[in-house]
Symmetry: C2
Subunit: 143 residues, 2 copies
């Protein structure tokens, strides 16, 4: 399951993407419209900014903007940021690799093979799901 952080982050990013012309958008507005606790969302957007997925502008009329186009930002980036590795096993992650201590032989491990296939399929789908793609999906579902 995705954490609330990931879900809130995705919702906030989609909100900004859908109101691109009005950037930068203050946290308070996103929090209100998407019913996300203000202070919590503040922390989330700080993380997104540190990861350079959004950029911020301080002071009056400040707020957050996408750092790039909606086609540049995908769910894999967001999920990795807040929930860490996407894979089911640490031995099939790229960035967080760790052997399973109980594993006798990683190269022949059957569970690992399955986990690897699932990871690859999942990552591919999450990378395909850019903000632009999600907005387009919703547009199509609405007709």
């Amino acid at each position: 399951m995705l954490s609330k952080k990931s879900k809130y982050a995705i919702n906030a990013l989609l909100y900004i993407a859908k109101h691109e012309a009005e950037q930068p958008i203050p946290v308070s507005r996103i929090a209100e419209e998407r019913h996300i606790p203000l202070k919590f969302l503040e922390a989330i957007l700080t993380e997104l900014r540190n990861a350079r997925i959004v950029k911020s502008k301080k002071g009056k009329y400040g707020g957050y903007s996408l750092n790039g186009t909606p086609a540049d930002i995908d769910l894999a980036q967001v999920v990795r940021l807040f929930d860490g590795a996407i894979a089911l096993l640490p031995c099939v992650t790229h960035d967080y690799y760790q052997p399973c201590e109980e594993c006798v032989d990683e190269t022949t491990c059957g569970i690992r093979q399955v986990a690897l296939e699932i990871r690859n399929a999942t990552v591919a789908r999450l990378k395909d799901a850019t903000l632009a793609n999600l907005i387009e999906r919703e547009r199509q579902a609405n007709t």
Copy 2:
């Protein structure tokens, strides 16, 4: 990521499946051979028994046996038992369904569409990964 419970359970089940002729197998033997804490594994096997994935025999020369053939038991069952829903969002699970409270319209939600595709692909692969299948995979990788 899978919990240790799931990983230990899968390893224990694979161990029993590989030693089918010697059933029932005592917890102590599995714990020793697969380096799993004894008492923890005891609790795990109790859960597997309650779920009727294994069956137990009490007393001397007792232990645990598979309840069915290695082709009957798949990873989806085990993962669901210990880690709950497989999906990324509660709104695309079957058994644990819950709407996302922040969601405006579930039928058009783009994130949901992606989550549903990922869930379906993942569940299919986990169901395909029966104990028999895993053992066969390891046999093939060994040649």
